[in-house]
Symmetry: C2
Subunit: 188 residues, 2 copies
């Protein structure tokens, strides 16, 4: 439901509201926050953007976690330029959430614990042969074995959050780690 405007006259409340929307995406597979879009910068200095699945979110540490295939283009992009941006639109709250992040790519023994908890049926997302993005002759000329060596975790440090609430009047604010998440209102 649309939040009343009076709920957003306090920066800390607004930030908490944003985080609770993000965190809901981890617990609730039906929340739109479950599938943010992730933007990266490619080696040719062009942006790339795609849907990802939100696996963890922690307001206290300002961290977000995403799982992916080590050979995917997003991992290549982030290994060259670790700056990323995540976008979530929550239609019921009419809230746009924008996160700027720095991604650290972890694989192998560093993420063995996480791999062990990936359900069997989901493991086929890590190991496609040929690797994701490889040209193939026919649409189904690929296989999906599960391969723990291909499992990569993007540990994302959130450095900035921008919230935009589209109400009768638009309300926008920005929060950054560098200013200890105190935040400031912005003209929308």
């Amino acid at each position: 439901m649309c939040k009343n405007i009076t709920e957003f006259t306090n920066l800390q409340n607004f930030l908490d509201h944003g985080w609770s929307g993000i965190i809901r995406g981890v617990a609730d597979a039906k929340s739109p926050a479950r599938h943010p879009t992730l933007a990266t910068v490619s080696e040719t200095n062009a942006p790339e953007i795609r849907t990802v699945v939100l696996r963890k979110a922690n307001q206290k540490n300002s961290t977000i976690q995403i799982h992916t295939d080590k050979t995917s283009k997003k991992v290549r992009d982030l290994s060259i330029n670790s700056n990323g941006a995540l976008h979530i639109w929550l239609p019921k709250s009419r809230l746009q959430i924008r996160l700027n992040i720095i991604a650290k790519i972890q694989t192998g023994s560093d993420v063995k614990d996480l791999w062990d908890r990936v359900p069997e049926r989901s493991r086929i997302s890590y190991g496609t042969v040929p690797a994701p993005g490889t040209p193939i002759e026919t649409p189904l000329a690929y296989q999906q074995p599960s391969n723990s060596e291909r499992f990569a975790v993007l540990k994302c440090q959130v450095i900035k959050i921008e919230l935009l609430h589209l109400g009768l009047h638009h309300i926008r604010a920005q929060f950054s780690a560098s200013s200890d998440w105190k935040g400031t209102w912005l003209a929308p």
Copy 2:
């Protein structure tokens, strides 16, 4: 509705299906294609991502049009690095559409015809005082006069389209202007 897999064994059909999803966003304000996310690269070489409104789409010329405020951050980003990326997710078709574009920013007399057709009630989106993104003391400390001088049109030349259909088997293909939109299947 979910398209049957057999509909996507022909690259041209798949591309046409993608474009028809995009174009629907122009005519139908309720289509998810109405509100793509646009990624740009900021002057610090980090990606930025936000929702935009799709105003025009033309498969024949491979063009997309977006309206915005001339003083917005996305215009600044694109004036330095004209590479952009658009993302659309169509839940009913289970289709992810990714577009790589080169944006040309037009303002003033070049877009007078378009401004004349912007409905009165929408004109307040162009002219916010202070400019969008300016820190303000309280959430509503801004005004929204209409200002034709602030109206900017992003004329986007599409250079690449990538489609991913999430079905029983995932189907992915990429099409580029440089290969005359012939396209190739990709491992998903």
